[in-house]
Symmetry: D2
Subunit: 300 residues, 4 copies
């Protein structure tokens, strides 16, 4: 349960004071403002602010294309056209600011997305709280033997118990040591923090435009992403669906749910459509590519 | 007069529909929303949307520094501290979206600022209007003989009249040709546009965070900037002053109105404070540096 | 013919002085260094410097994936894997610096690619040369009636002649006026330039990493790109093919020659593979999407 | 001692094979190529590749300013002019690629500089080595009581011994657990790594242009930066001094060794030059600003 009573009260207060604005208002997003969506055991995602809605994307596109967009009959059709043809700049006209609480090892993956603004809690200035990510037992998966970055089925109960014992004991001990070093010893905070493991929680404000956010979601809500960052991406995805519903539907159809075919794959599919049998040997694909290709097209 | 009656009516309509929001509202900015601020002879700047206010900067800084910011007594003090020490990320937490109409040669300087989102009117899709920037006679300045990129005093009346005659005639003729080529000849628009001079007006939506906007204003509202882009920067500066007044005051004190001293200049000033006479020869500065230094410090 | 005898001599001199280096050397790129590849009537592309080769991409990937990359048997296989799975950061480890001479209307499209470093010739400081892009008659295409940004067949000979007459006369007249204004009138250069049309040539140094360059080429060598910028993209593409041949082959297979299928298109193709007839009405696609889909898949 | 005999042999081999190139060669940088400069107890910085030299900056500036730069008599004068007036784009024309081994808590500060290309060793794919940063006893500084992010004098010997005991024991224990979890238990590597503290070493390839590198060095070689990242910045600074010596001298004079004066500080200094006594009360500065101002100017 990530929120203290004080935080709950603060959120309630923020949600009470509606004020008039002349700006575009996305009703679906107003419902999310400030509310903490819980992620993992102590993390959360909160919308702090947003700019624009589906209409803002349409408006920006109409500035770009001028009278040329008159032929597109409606807003959703235009948004789908933009998404399909990767006309990305109108989607950059929306912006969102999130407050995220997350383990450091997740933050390290997240920060690779460079086109965003970040203000992270500084452990040089202040003390980190005693909050560590301890996975649920069913999330303790075995290393994949075929995929270097993959997980397979969960560990057995005894192995899982042993891992949890390690994680809990090391978290407790290193935090006790952190308190000792920053407390009675008086070591500089910027040094004492180095002994904390990367499953301790940090938090940040993260601000990004919608185009780059969709790119983030495409990569991080993907089944190949690590489960822990995927949990955040899926939560954010549900928020985006309420914020810009037309854009979200187009994203699912043309990006998240899409498949890219190589020149070789196009050729194979064409032959298959003509009724030919195609084998990996004559496909021009590697064994791995062929396996991925057949996963999508082989079952027909 | 850049606005048509239709545009005036559209702006009035946009300004009529206030709706409730839970987001932070900057009253000073609400007054600007959608209103066209005229710049040059046919240009304008309009605020289309904004995110955040002075409070949002403070809030982001407090997330970063945690309890460490408690010692700063008030919001304005914290903003001044951030500006002075170039802690720039909290200022990235505010964002603004502008609609700008501007001549192409100004747009070409403007676009060098890469950290922004842009949707420009496309002359591949649509026809440009017959609107050209024709400078006021007093803006027709002579080339500086000492500064390669500078202007000096205005031309004499006959020279100015000749320049205006050239600009008006060429604008009219090339636009007539543009209409002929895109009209009865039927040449592709993407080709016909190449014959138009760079004082024709274009327009775009331009979205940028406050930190990068201040950097833009520092460079483009500077006396060394070309007068035409400076006119836009000064207009935007007045809007920013209403949007985030604490930040604007700090910007004037620590950035726009500040001076950077080189190692040599620091040394010279120290000697001058001790009552020594310093000459260029022993200053370690070039003749040009020395001249710039004496412009600031020599009159005392 | 874009090069003066002085420029030819300068290039010959630059190409004479080979010096030893410990850095990776791409033999295919050394052959291009400094040589001007002519584009359009007065433009060119010259390689000024480069960093890295196919091997540098492999090396960076092996740092990232550590022993995890040992399973990929060879360099080309690894590069193809990275390209296929959009692991883009290793491609950012190569960099190229080009000297490009190009018309201003092409430069305006080009500069939208923000992730690059640019130093453009400044018409505030210096005088532009009397060089304008005048299309070949067969490039003078008619505006498409179905595609707002498209061209169709060439104009007839009389229409083409009229367009060339306009372009040549306006170029000559505006340049004469430019000389008059910057010459005997003494108008500031930063003002006089505004009267020049956008088919005048400018030049710049442009530096970009390989990942972003491939993205640029994907968009600008595409048949939907304007023919004039495509001419530059195709020239650069031939240079890249010599620089990083493995990467270039992977790019052709997985990016430039690839097709992305939406969820609806995947579903239709699956049904077609099972022998079903699919119509637009039941495809879930718009008329336009269906037409594009059938262009690729309908001929089988 | 960060390098294994295998690594030493690999570096020696890389340094043996000089090959001819037509590109600019920076002799001062060739001497550094591949050599590991040791930083902290197990870290290093190695130059893997570079593009350009002082001459490349001058060349790019001359393309920009055309004949306008002829008046600047020599290369160093031009570089100093560019640095003084913050004409930053010519410095973006040089690029460097480094191989860096560094503790994770340093990497987390470093990565905030977003304008760079990064390939980091992935602990999802591969196993991290048993190497932790354990500070030298004299680096174990006490938390500053006046500066939230500062250090003061070193701890006493007993306190230091206790801190080192904690750091060593926790490093050993958490690494033993890491081996147990990834080894006989078979937990996915992406999960097992979360238990490791942030003083474990990681490594990456880091590529950045010279302008952004100088900005990094200005912030991270500053006395306010944490000592551990400063050690890297100082090492890189010495390399840059050999690579682009003219640029480095200009950087020291106009950036690293410079001071920026606010409007209030300019006013105070002017009054002091006229012989007036100025007090904090009438200075317009806060107590903290005044203290910083007097540190620089008060001793005269």
């Amino acid at each position: 349960m990530p929120l203290t009573p004080e935080q709950e009260a603060e959120i309630a207060a923020q949600r009470r004071e509606a004020r008039p604005t002349l700006r575009p208002v996305a009703e679906g997003m107003e419902r999310h403002l400030y509310t903490a969506h819980e992620v993992l055991d102590h993390g959360f995602v909160r919308v702090i602010d947003y700019m624009g809605d589906d209409g803002a994307i349409v408006q920006a596109a109409r500035v770009s294309y001028g009278k040329g967009t008159k032929s597109v009959s409606n807003d959703e059709g235009l948004i789908r056209y933009l998404m399909r043809h990767r006309h990305t700049t109108p989607f950059e006209m929306c912006e969102v600011k999130l407050h995220v609480k997350l383990p450091i090892f997740v933050a390290r993956q997240w920060i690779r997305h460079r086109t965003a603004n970040v203000n992270e809690y500084s452990a040089r200035y202040s003390i980190l709280d005693r909050e560590f990510y301890i996975p649920a037992p069913e999330a303790l998966a075995r290393q994949s033997t075929t995929n270097n970055q993959g997980r397979e089925e969960p560990l057995g109960p005894e192995e899982a118990a042993r891992v949890l014992e390690i994680l809990r004991a090391d978290a407790a001990r290193t935090y006790d040591h952190y308190e000792e070093m920053t407390g009675k010893i008086g070591l500089a905070r910027e040094l004492a923090r180095m002994n904390l493991p990367t499953n301790i929680y940090t938090q940040w404000y993260w601000k990004i435009d919608l185009h780059n956010l969709l790119h983030f979601l495409e990569l991080r809500a993907d089944p190949h992403a690590q489960m822990e960052i995927r949990a955040y991406a899926e939560t954010i995805g549900r928020i985006v669906a309420d914020w810009v519903p037309m854009t979200w539907r187009a994203f699912l159809d043309y990006r998240a749910g899409a498949v890219t075919l190589s020149r070789q794959a196009i050729d194979c599919l064409r032959r298959m459509l003509r009724g030919e049998q195609v084998t990996q040997e004559e496909s021009g694909m590697s064994a791995r590519e062929w396996r991925e290709f057949m996963e999508v097209w082989g079952e027909n």
